[in-house]
Symmetry: C2
Subunit: 162 residues, 2 copies
DNA sequence: ATTCTTGCAAAGCCTTTGCAACTGC
DNA sequence: GCAGTTGCAAAGGCTTTGCAAGAAT
């Protein structure tokens, strides 16, 4: 990820633990969940369920698809992950210890570029207020082609002309 | 829909016809497609594939799911419809003759409120330029609770206290 | 002990597709 | 008549779920 992290007082694992135990019906913290939290917060940028499954299986661990889906949902509820829809793909990103931001997605290479914009925040603030709309969050995804892919395309075009 | 329409010189049907016949491999304009275009541009706000199917079947017409999905894709390619992902739902909205805008979605009643914002446009313009990102479009969905649902909630809360 | 979680396989949901019959051009 | 379209039913992705066995508190 590319934005500066926000300082947080607890490890993701502890934050998750706390969330689980503070539920009306306390939930349990299992080995599988620990492994998943470690994998997710050690390495990943944006990832989807399948990538996480591959990653975990690649590391020799065996955690079932079902458990991964179930744990991802809990992590979202716990505020540790954010789920975003990018085109038709569902990807996850760190929420805990990471500031609110927007996305640009390259349609060629799939890269996601994050950015923050005060004026967008302000504009949203103003519009929701005006409409007495109680906002709980938003998703902004800009589609297009990133600088590198653009250069590559232009280079290729030049070659094609020879 | 709530924003003023933009004046257009052709009917959606004609614009679609034109699109179809101008393809490298010219495509055909069929009865089913005509019916769908009429239904879509006569009445709908935001709708998903299933709602359109129900609507069309409700009107006594019989058009298969497959054809509806295929036609929706063509309409998107033709620039008549825009496809947007709202949470996990895929909905369509008029693109032709309708200005660029953003969305607020009420998580209680499902209502979509549209709005335009110059400062958001400007901010996006600036950020993409800065990153040499060639933007082709964007999706901005604000989640939350609309004014009415909020009022309803507050009213209920007051009642609960009695 | 009790209650929640896991893994499996099955089911769900939405969307796409292969194919034979059909139809616009 | 040729090439593209339709409808059907089947297949595809991805995600969720019922259930019996296993684990956390």
């Amino acid at each position: 990820m590319s934005l500066p992290a926000v300082p947080v007082s607890q490890s993701p694992e502890n934050k998750f633990r706390e969330y689980l135990s503070s539920r009306p019906k306390p939930q349990r913290f299992t080995d599988q969940q620990r492994v998943l939290v470690q994998h997710i917060f050690a390495q990943h940028e944006h990832f989807d369920a399948d990538q996480l499954i591959l990653d975990v299986h690649g590391a020799g661990l065996n955690i079932s698809r079902a458990t991964i889906y179930r744990t991802l949902s809990k992590l979202v509820d716990a505020g540790l992950l954010r789920r975003i829809e990018v085109g038709t793909r569902t990807v996850y990103e760190h929420d805990y210890g990471y500031p609110q931001h927007e996305h640009m997605v390259c349609e060629r290479c799939g890269k996601m570029i994050e950015f923050q914009s005060e004026s967008i925040q302000a504009a949203l603030q103003q519009v929701t207020e005006q409409n007495q709309f109680l906002a709980s969050g938003h998703t902004l995804v800009v589609r297009g082609v990133c600088a590198e892919c653009n250069r590559a395309r232009n280079a290729k075009r030049r070659l094609d002309l020879i």
